[in-house]
């Protein structure tokens, strides 16, 4: 099932069946997006709930230019960033959460999506946000700097460090996996 113009227009007219259909099509994609920005699953669920309310409320601002999915993802990302800013200041520290990095739970013989999301969640908050915005969502450093109220240089530096730390995580997990297989 595809999100077509007709479905969006029916949602704009507050048809409950259409709104539920839209949720069925987008819910799992947006939940995966929310999970990439936090370690806390409950927080991700709250973000998903509030994001859908925002999407339904601001449907009239969708101009049918570009894909609806892309628009819905932008609404969700903006909501997540505003909620993070509201709750706390984003810290750009360099420390990894070592306590949860090398447990048995985190070591798997095969790579799965949830494990990649887990790796990203191990990054310090500032780097995690910038990595998600830049690499997965495709925002430019200028856009990231505006959204997070930082300089473009900070954004570039944090992204470089995030990449290095992810490579470090990969290497350690590859070693663990190799030992388990042998």
């Amino acid at each position: 099932m595809v999100i077509d113009e007709e479905l969006v227009k029916r949602c704009m007219n507050n048809e409950p069946a259409a709104q539920k259909a839209l949720y069925t099509l987008l819910g799992s994609k947006l939940f995966a997006l929310c999970l990439r920005y936090t370690k806390d699953r409950t927080e991700a669920e709250d973000w998903l709930q509030e994001s859908f309310i925002k999407i339904y409320t601001h449907l009239h601002s969708f101009k049918f230019e570009g894909s609806f999915e892309g628009w819905a993802k932008r609404v969700t990302v903006n909501f997540i960033l505003s909620d993070i800013r509201k709750k706390k200041n984003v810290r750009f520290s360099d420390e990894l959460d070592e306590n949860v990095l090398f447990t048995d739970e985190s070591a798997h013989s095969t790579i799965g999506h949830e494990e990649l999301i887990y790796f990203i969640s191990l990054l310090p908050e500032g780097k995690r946000i910038i990595f998600n915005l830049s690499v997965i969502e495709g925002y430019s450093h200028k856009e990231i700097a505006e959204k997070l109220n930082i300089t473009e240089g900070t954004s570039r530096g944090q992204l470089a460090k995030a990449r290095e730390q992810l490579i470090e995580i990969h290497k350690k997990h590859n070693k663990i996996n190799a030992k388990q297989v042998s």
Binding site: K20, E45, I53, S109, I111, R163, E164, I167
Partner: protein
């Protein structure tokens, strides 16, 4: 799905984009119920609340303030432009030496001072007892304004009372009345009222 995570930087971005670009994770089963309940709650709130957006509220407040400003300006300008409608004017009560005199005589000293032109004010001045200076605009214009009031009271005057009294409304365009001094007016009234007291009995 590869069995090994990339260990080179140049492979990292494309690896994550491919793997996570279109990932789907099932949300909790009750998520839709939570969303619809939350929306229903919001709708009920809006139904009982102020049914206007923030912009409409702001515009309404501005219009209200402008209306209040205009109506108050009109009210004050109208009041100023009609001198007859002023509620009170100062009256200088300057009792003379025989302040213990009967009522009919004490009224001699009560002189209401009307705010009129400079000439009128000056004509009412009693040079030895008091000096009153009014700076007013000519011809009773609406912006009539009293700038200074100076009272010079001679030592022989014991008490100076400034009593606001209601000014008698006078139509502006009526023919000027014949001025009757207070002394004459009250003297006549006193005589009228006391005349019957001394009528001898007809018996």
């Amino acid at each position: 799905m590869p069995n090994k995570y990339p260990e080179e930087l140049d492979q990292l971005d494309s690896f994550y984009q491919d793997q996570l670009g279109n990932v789907e994770v099932l949300p909790p089963a009750d998520m839709w119920d939570r969303i619809s309940a939350s929306r229903e709650k919001d709708r009920n709130k809006k139904g009982f609340g102020f049914p206007f957006s923030n912009n409409q509220k702001n515009i309404g407040i501005v219009i209200l303030l402008v209306l209040i400003g205009v109506s108050s300006a009109v009210y004050f300008l109208n009041n100023d432009s009609e001198p007859g409608t002023k509620n009170s004017v100062p009256v200088i009560n300057t009792p003379t030496d025989n302040s213990t005199a009967p009522e009919n005589e004490s009224t001699d000293t009560e002189q209401p001072i009307n705010k009129t032109t400079k000439e009128n004010i000056r004509s009412k001045k009693t040079s030895d007892a008091k000096t009153v200076e009014y700076n007013t605009t000519e011809n009773n214009s609406s912006l009539e304004e009293v700038k200074t009031e100076v009272y010079q009271i001679q030592p022989k005057i014991e008490v100076v009372d400034i009593v606001p009294v209601e000014k008698q409304e006078e139509p502006a365009e009526k023919a000027p009345k014949k001025k009757v001094s207070f002394k004459e007016k009250y003297k006549k009234e006193y005589q009228d009222s006391t005349r019957n007291l001394f009528v001898p009995d007809k018996k």
